[in-house]
C-alpha cells in the first residue's frame, strides 16, 4: 500500500515541482503594466471616494450644526424673552444670579452668564468664562439681535449665544425692544453634534477600505482581461524570436488588441515568407557549391593522376616543358586541395558532419600530426604525457595541421605547440615569433578566403584552412581564439576544447 501511494505521489509531486518552476509565482511589479493599472484605478477610486464623502460630510455637518444652532437660538430667545419680563432694572446681583440660573435651567444646563454694567452673574460660578470672546461681547453690545459664535474650547466645540435683554417683551421678534442694559450669554455644548459628525466620518472611513480593496480587485480583473492577450502576444514574440516562424496569435474581437494581434500575425507571416525564401536561396547556393566541388573532383582525379606522370618525367623534358609540367602538377595539387576544403566547408554548412569520437592521447596525436607532415624538426612541441580525452582524432589533426601550417607559412620560427589540461578544459596553443597579425587583420583571420597578407594573394593555403579549423573546434564544443598581442611572440592561436574523458562521459 505504501509503495503504491509513493509511486503515485512521486510523479505528481515532480509534475507540481516542474510546473512551479515553469510558472514561477510572479508578484505584480509596481512598474509593470498591471501594477500601474492597479495603482491608477485605486488612486482614482480613492480620490473620488474622498471627494464624494468629503462633500457629503461637509453638507451633513453643516445641516446638523445649523439645526442645533437654530434650536439653541430659539430656546435661548424664548427663555430670555420669558424671564426678561421679571427682570427689573437696575437690578441686583441676586436677581441676576437667579435670572442666569433660570435661563440655564431651560437650556439643558448650559452655562449662562448675565452681565449688567460691571457686574457679572453666572449660572455656574466655577465655570470658565473665557469661551465668551471679546468679539461676541462687542457684537452683543452693538447689535440688538442674538449674536452667536462657535468656539473650540478644551478640544470641544461650543456654541456661544449672546443677546442684550430688552425690557419690552412685546417688541418685534428678534429685537430686544427697549434695552435693559443687561447682557446675557449662553454657552451651549455642541459635543453631541460633534460626536454625530465624527461617527459619520468614522463610518465613511471604514467604508473606504473595502471600496479601495474592491477597486483594486476590479483593476486586477480589468488588467487580466487586457494583459492576457498582451502576454500571449509577448510569448508569441519570444517564440518568433527563437525561430519559430509559424507561430500566430488568436485575433479575437475588434479592439486595439485584436488589431495588434492581426499586425503581429501579418508580420510573422511576412517574416516566415522571406526567411523561407532566404533559406531556400541559401540552400540552393550551398548545394551549388557542394555540387560544383563534387563535379570538380572527377576531372581533378584524372588530372592529378596524369600530372604526377608528367612531373615524374620532367627531368627528361626540355627546361620549358619541365617547368610547364611541374607548374601544372603543382597547380593541380592546389586545386585539388581547394576543392577538398570547399567540400569540407560545404559539409559544415549543410550540417552534414558528425564526430567519430575515441579516447585519444593528446601528445601522441599532436606528434602524429607533426610527423605525418614532416614538421617535427621545425616545431617545438611541449606535450605533457598522459593527457587523454575523447576527441575525433581526424578532426583534431585537421585543426592542429591548419594552425601549425598557418604559423609556419605566415609567421616566423620558432613555432611552438603547447598542450595543457586544466579545469575540465584542454588548451592547445600554437605560437610563432613573427610580427604577429595586423590589428585590422585579427578580426578576419577565421573568415573564408581571407588573406592576411594582401601582397601574397596566392599563398599555399586554400584560404579556408582557418575557417575549417574553427568549424572543427566548434563541432567539439570548443573554440579557437587569437590571443591578444604580447611582446616577444608573434601570433598565438589558442584552441580550447572541453576535456571529456571516458569516465566523465
Amino acid at each position: 500500500m505504501r509503495t503504491r501511494t509513493r509511486s503515485r505521489g512521486k510523479p505528481a509531486a515532480a509534475a507540481a515541482a516542474g510546473s512551479a518552476a515553469r510558472f514561477r509565482p510572479r508578484l505584480p511589479r509596481l512598474d509593470g503594466l498591471r501594477g500601474r493599472l492597479v495603482i491608477t484605478v485605486v488612486v482614482v477610486a480613492l480620490i473620488s471616494a474622498v471627494t464624494a464623502t468629503g462633500l457629503a460630510y461637509q453638507e451633513s455637518r453643516d445641516a446638523v450644526l445649523k439645526r442645533a444652532q437654530s434650536a439653541a437660538v430659539e430656546d435661548f430667545r424664548n427663555r430670555v424673552d420669558r424671564l426678561a419680563a421679571e427682570l427689573d432694572v437696575p437690578t441686583d446681583p441676586r436677581t441676576m444670579a437667579r435670572f442666569a440660573s433660570d435661563v440655564s435651567s431651560g437650556l439643558r444646563g448650559s452655562l449662562v452668564v448675565a452681565q449688567y454694567r460691571d457686574y457679572t452673574a453666572s449660572s455656574d460660578p466655577s465655570a470658565d468664562r473665557t469661551r465668551i470672546t471679546p468679539e461676541l461681547r462687542a457684537a452683543v453690545r452693538t447689535q440688538s439681535r442674538i449674536s452667536l459664535q462657535r468656539v473650540q474650547h478644551g478640544g470641544k466645540p461650543w456654541l456661544v449665544l449672546g443677546a442684550p435683554v430688552g425690557l419690552d417683551s412685546a417688541g418685534p421678534r428678534g429685537s430686544a425692544g427697549r434695552l435693559s442694559g443687561v447682557e446675557v450669554f449662553a454657552v451651549v455644548s455642541l459635543a453631541e453634534e460633534a460626536r454625530d459628525t465624527a461617527d459619520l466620518v468614522r463610518s465613511v472611513q471604514s467604508g473606504l477600505v473595502p471600496v479601495l480593496l474592491l477597486s483594486a480587485v476590479l483593476a486586477l480583473l480589468a488588467a487580466r482581461t487586457v494583459l492576457r492577450p498582451v502576454r500571449r502576444l509577448a510569448r508569441a514574440t519570444r517564440r518568433l524570436a527563437t525561430g519559430e516562424l509559424t507561430i500566430r496569435v488568436e485575433e479575437k474581437g475588434r479592439d486595439e488588441l485584436a488589431e495588434l494581434a492581426h499586425t503581429f500575425n501579418e508580420t510573422a507571416g511576412a517574416l516566415e515568407h522571406s526567411v523561407g525564401e532566404l533559406r531556400a536561396q541559401e540552400a540552393l547556393a550551398r548545394r551549388f557549391v557542394a555540387d560544383v566541388s563534387h563535379e570538380l573532383r572527377t576531372p581533378l582525379a584524372a588530372m592529378t593522376m596524369v600530372s604526377s606522370v608528367l612531373e615524374e618525367d620532367a627531368d627528361q623534358l626540355t627546361p620549358d616543358a619541365a617547368h610547364a609540367a611541374r607548374t601544372v602538377s603543382a597547380e593541380t595539387a592546389r586545386l585539388a586541395r581547394l576543392v577538398d576544403d570547399l567540400i569540407e566547408i560545404s559539409r559544415f554548412d549543410a550540417r552534414a558532419v558528425a564526430l567519430t569520437v575515441h579516447e585519444v592521447d593528446l601528445a601522441e596525436a599532436v606528434r602524429g600530426t607533426l610527423a605525418a607532415r614532416g614538421w617535427t624538426d621545425r616545431v617545438e612541441a611541449d606535450l605533457p604525457p598522459g593527457i587523454r580525452a575523447r576527441l575525433d582524432r581526424r578532426r583534431l589533426d585537421v585543426i592542429v595541421a591548419n594552425l601549425v601550417g598557418n604559423a609556419l607559412r605566415h609567421g616566423a620560427p620558432p613555432v611552438t605547440v603547447t598542450v595543457r589540461a586544466a579545469d575540465g578544459q584542454l588548451t592547445l596553443a600554437v605560437a610563432d615569433h613573427g610580427p604577429g597579425l595586423a590589428p585590422e587583420a585579427a578580426p578576419h583571420v577565421f573568415d573564408r578566403f581571407y588573406k592576411a597578407d594582401s601582397a601574397r594573394t596566392r599563398s599555399e593555403g586554400s584560404g579556408l584552412g582557418m575557417a575549417i579549423a574553427l568549424e572543427n573546434a566548434r563541432l567539439h564544443g570548443g573554440t579557437i581564439e587569437l590571443a591578444p598581442p604580447a611582446p616577444d611572440v608573434g601570433a598565438v592561436f589558442v584552441l580550447r576544447l572541453p576535456h571529456r574523458t571516458e569516465s566523465a562521459s
Binding site: H294, T298, A301, M305, V306, V309, H358, E364, R394
Partner: protein, 228 residues
C-alpha cells in the same frame, strides 16, 4: 608484377589511373562498370588478378554491391575509390568489406603505396604455430581459421587483424597500433577502418556479435583478444 582490376566509370580517370599503374609495372584490367568487373573476375583466367580498385559511384550496380559480391566469392583485397568521402560512404564501403578506401583526387604515388600496402597485408604472415581458442583454431602456417571444425573464410585484412590480435591474447591494442601494424598506415588512416574490420570479424567469429567473446572492446583504449 601485381595484376590490378580497376573499375571506374569516368574515362579520363580510368585512363589516367591505368597509365600510372602501368608505369609502376602493374598489369591492369580497366573496366567501366561493376558488371564488367565481376564478369572479368568470374572468367577462368581471372586467377591472375590480385587486387581490385573499385569506384563507389558506378552506373548499374554500385561500388558497395561490387564489393559485397567480390567478398562473397573470395578474399581479393579491395581498395574503394570514392569521390564523395562523406563519412557515411566511407563507413558503408568499409562495412561492405573494403580493405581500404581512398578519396579522389589521389596522386599516382599514393595510390601505388596503398596498393602495395594492401597486397602486403594479403601476403603470408611469417609465424608458424596453431592456436586453439575454445574451438576457434587459427593456423598461422596454413593461414586458415576454423571454428568447431568449420572453415571460416577471411579476407586478407581481417585475417591479418585476427592474427595480430590473437598473437598476444589479453593484450590491449589501440586503434592506432592496429592501423600501423595491420594496415601499415600512418595515423592519418581512419580508425574507422579498424572498427569496421573488427565488426566484420565479430560477425564471422562470434556466437553473439553483440556480446563478443574473442575480440573485446576496451573502452577508451582499443581492442583485446580474449581471454576466452
Amino acid at each position: 608484377m601485381p595484376h590490378v582490376l580497376l573499375i571506374e566509370d569516368d574515362t579520363s580517370v580510368r585512363d589516367g589511373m591505368e597509365l600510372v599503374l602501368r608505369r609502376h609495372g602493374h598489369e591492369v584490367d580497366a573496366v567501366g562498370t561493376g558488371e564488367a568487373g565481376l564478369e572479368l573476375l568470374s572468367r577462368p583466367r581471372a586467377g591472375g588478378i590480385e587486387i581490385a580498385v573499385v569506384d563507389l559511384m558506378l552506373p548499374g550496380i554500385d561500388g558497395f554491391e561490387v564489393c559485397r559480391r567480390i567478398r562473397g566469392r573470395g578474399q581479393l583485397p579491395i581498395i574503394m575509390l570514392t569521390s564523395r568521402g562523406d563519412d557515411l560512404d566511407v563507413v558503408s564501403g568499409l562495412e561492405a568489406g573494403a580493405d581500404d578506401y581512398v578519396v579522389k583526387p589521389i596522386t599516382g604515388r599514393v595510390l601505388e603505396a596503398r596498393i602495395r600496402a594492401a597486397l602486403r597485408r594479403a601476403g603470408p604472415v611469417a609465424r608458424t604455430d596453431t592456436d586453439d581458442f575454445a574451438g576457434l583454431v587459427i593456423d598461422r602456417a596454413g593461414l586458415s581459421v576454423t571454428k568447431h571444425g568449420t572453415p571460416v573464410p577471411l579476407p586478407p585484412t581481417e585475417l591479418r587483424l585476427l592474427l595480430e590480435l590473437s598473437a598476444a591474447p589479453g593484450r590491449v591494442f589501440s586503434r592506432e597500433q592496429l592501423l600501423t601494424s595491420v594496415w601499415e598506415h600512418d595515423f592519418l588512416g581512419d580508425s574507422r577502418l579498424v572498427d569496421a574490420a573488427v565488426g566484420r570479424l565479430r560477425a564471422k567469429l562470434e556466437d553473439l556479435p553483440a556480446k563478443p567473446r574473442y575480440i573485446q572492446t576496451v573502452r577508451g583504449f582499443g581492442y583485446r583478444f580474449g581471454p576466452v
